[in-house]
């Protein structure tokens, strides 16, 4: 169980830290959308591909993906732990959230890497 490996205070420090870092990076991300020829243009297919192929930007997207996955799935874990209690349920929720987090990071990273390497 995640909370058995890490103390709850450590988990929550990570939770707050990822939130703060994500706010900063997502702000950069949004500003980039608004400054690269307008919001609508920034969502065009070729522009999106170009963003992924620009390595520093792809790295930032990867970091945002990791930060938001950690923060989001821990938030989900907290909500689910408050919804119901019981050792088996709590263990399932904690392991499930960690597994889902890694799955999302893996799938998102695959997209970023493949696009960056020109495989899409």
């Amino acid at each position: 169980m995640a909370s058995a490996i890490l103390r709850e205070s450590t988990i929550m420090k990570i939770h707050y830290g990822t939130a703060l870092a994500a706010v900063a990076l997502v702000a950069v991300h949004v500003l980039m959308r608004l400054t690269s020829g307008g919001f609508a243009a920034s969502l065009e297919y070729e522009t999106v591909l170009a963003n992924y192929r620009f390595l520093p930007y792809a790295l930032m997207l990867e970091i945002i993906l990791v930060l938001l996955s950690i923060h989001g799935f821990n938030g989900l874990r907290v909500i689910l732990l408050e919804l119901r209690q019981g050792p088996r349920y709590e263990k399932a929720v904690s392991y499930g959230c960690v597994a889902a987090m890694f799955a999302l990071i893996a799938y998102g990273s695959r997209t970023i890497i493949m696009t960056n390497m020109g495989m899409v």
């Binding site: 709850e8 205070s9 988990i11 408050e82 209690q85």
Partner: protein, 267 residues
């Protein structure tokens, strides 16, 4: 079931005039989970009241005059024992500390405290409250005793400055009435949550310069159902009849956890 007080034709209180007694409709939640876990009903009683009549006075009037079977727990009648906590018009309050006149309502509804198991009618079980209170080890935790402080074994108080006392003194006013736990939205869903009462008491001792058990106490509350489950709704502090601010105590404890607290502590 609706019962009328003798001589009371209407449940609506009238403006007080010389020789005229005002009445209030007291709606008392009735249930007995030991016999029937599903049925919760209300009995209405028209009760006369004066400016100084408390809700507890009205309930005891009902027990005396109309229905002695109403289940209610009380003791000191002066907001000291913490026994008579209940939901009064939807808000956790002490019945002995709430005057009917101040409620500005013609109907006063009394129900058992939320987030606690009902024993009968208005009486709830405080087992979880006291268990959580015990869990934070609510006493000065140190190896020596005041008797050890002098070579000749004379009693000597642990020295503490007024500033050190100020760190925790408001939290020492807790009477364990359970109103904060009844108001806590997290406790409504998370039955394993320690609750604002226990966490505030944890801070009461963590913030006490005489205590030496800070680390073990912080470790105890650093749990998946401990201090981090507080969402800072602040309702615990709003309902406390003794002016304790559990929400602030919880934030102060979080400060310790995050490494911001305890700058003036002798640990």
């Amino acid at each position: 079931m609706a019962l009328q007080a003798a001589g009371s034709a209407s449940s609506q209180p009238s403006a007080q005039r010389p020789g005229t007694q005002r009445t209030i409709t007291l709606r008392i939640a009735r249930s007995n989970p030991a016999h029937d876990s599903t049925t919760v009903g209300f009995d209405d009683f028209d009760v006369p009241y004066e400016k100084w009549t408390t809700v507890l006075d009205a309930i005891l009037e009902v027990k005396k005059m109309f229905d002695h079977s109403v289940g209610v727990r009380y003791s000191c009648r002066q907001a000291t024992c913490g026994s008579c906590g209940m939901m009064i018009n939807g808000r956790p309050r002490l019945a002995c500390f709430t005057k009917i006149d101040e409620l500005n309502s013609s109907v006063v509804t009394v129900e058992p405290l939320q987030n606690f198991p009902v024993i009968r009618d208005l009486a709830v079980g405080f087992d979880s409250l006291f268990e959580n209170h015990r869990e934070v080890r609510p006493y000065l935790d140190r190896d020596d005793t005041e008797l050890d402080n002098t070579p000749d074994g004379e009693l000597k108080e642990y020295a503490q400055s007024p500033e050190e006392l100020e760190q925790y003194i408001q939290f020492a006013n807790c009477i364990k009435c359970g109103l904060c736990n009844a108001a806590c939205p997290t406790m409504a869903t998370d039955s394993s949550f320690l609750g604002p009462q226990a966490l505030a008491q944890a801070y009461r001792y963590v913030g006490d310069s005489r205590d030496r058990g800070k680390d073990s106490r912080l470790k105890m509350i650093d749990d998946s159902h401990g201090i981090w489950r507080c969402h800072f709704a602040g309702s615990c502090s709003q309902v406390c009849p003794k002016g304790v601010d559990p929400a602030m105590g919880i934030q102060m404890l979080r400060g310790y956890m995050l490494g911001f607290g305890g700058g003036n502590q002798k640990k």
